[in-house]
Subunit: 119 residues, 2 copies
Amino acid sequence: MKKEEARAKGLFGKCPYVTAQQLLKGKWAILIMHELSLGTKRFKELQRNIDITQATLTTQLRYMEEEGLVHREVYPEVPPRVEYSLTPIGEEFLPVLKSIENWGNKYIDFIKQGSYGHA
Amino acid sequence: MKKEEARAKGLFGKCPYVTAQQLLKGKWAILIMHELSLGTKRFKELQRNIDITQATLTTQLRYMEEEGLVHREVYPEVPPRVEYSLTPIGEEFLPVLKSIENWGNKYIDFIKQGSYGHA
DNA sequence: CGGCATCCTGTGTGATACTG
DNA sequence: CAGTATCACACAGGATGCCG
């Protein structure tokens, strides 16, 4: 950890913004967090609701599991069942999710009003 | 715009989460928003504070300007001066920023407690 | 069903050099 | 100072096929 300190990546675990950015960098992280905020979901459910590839979803979930945001519960049944839910620190993300939702909706209104000039 | 409707990208402007994700997808978007939330900044200031390349910063700012999040004011002086600030819809992002900061800090505490098992 | 391995590609990001 | 232009590259993310 020498040169990394120069670039923002080295601020992971120090600056809250960099940290959050790293955690949510995945294209789907926010969507997944939102889905899980609605309750425990099975793998297939997530895949259907978000319309994401198996491989990609698996990768994202593994990542978020490693980060401690998501809990993975495996039921050794036939056919297999795996359920995902938010961990405590994952639950703490809910306010962020809520404010993102608010702002996202405001922004959607904003572009619908044609308040900006591109396209 | 046909196949894109199938994938989440087509939800831009519909789903608030997808919309927000698209807007903030840049590695630096949140950092820049944070800097600008502290007040108007010159290009060079941003570059110094965030430690980002000129090219990358320019790209990001242009993008955010197009999205209507950032305002760019050019002063035709010598040497040139360009100042960046938040637009109204950009200001609306502040609550999100605040909640991200809160959560980011919680998460930083979380990993410092060694509450999770990797590395 | 849930997942992994593999391959492949787009693009986001960075380094560098040049311009007004 | 504030860009633009170009090149290079790593990596996220999609497609496909196979496995327990």
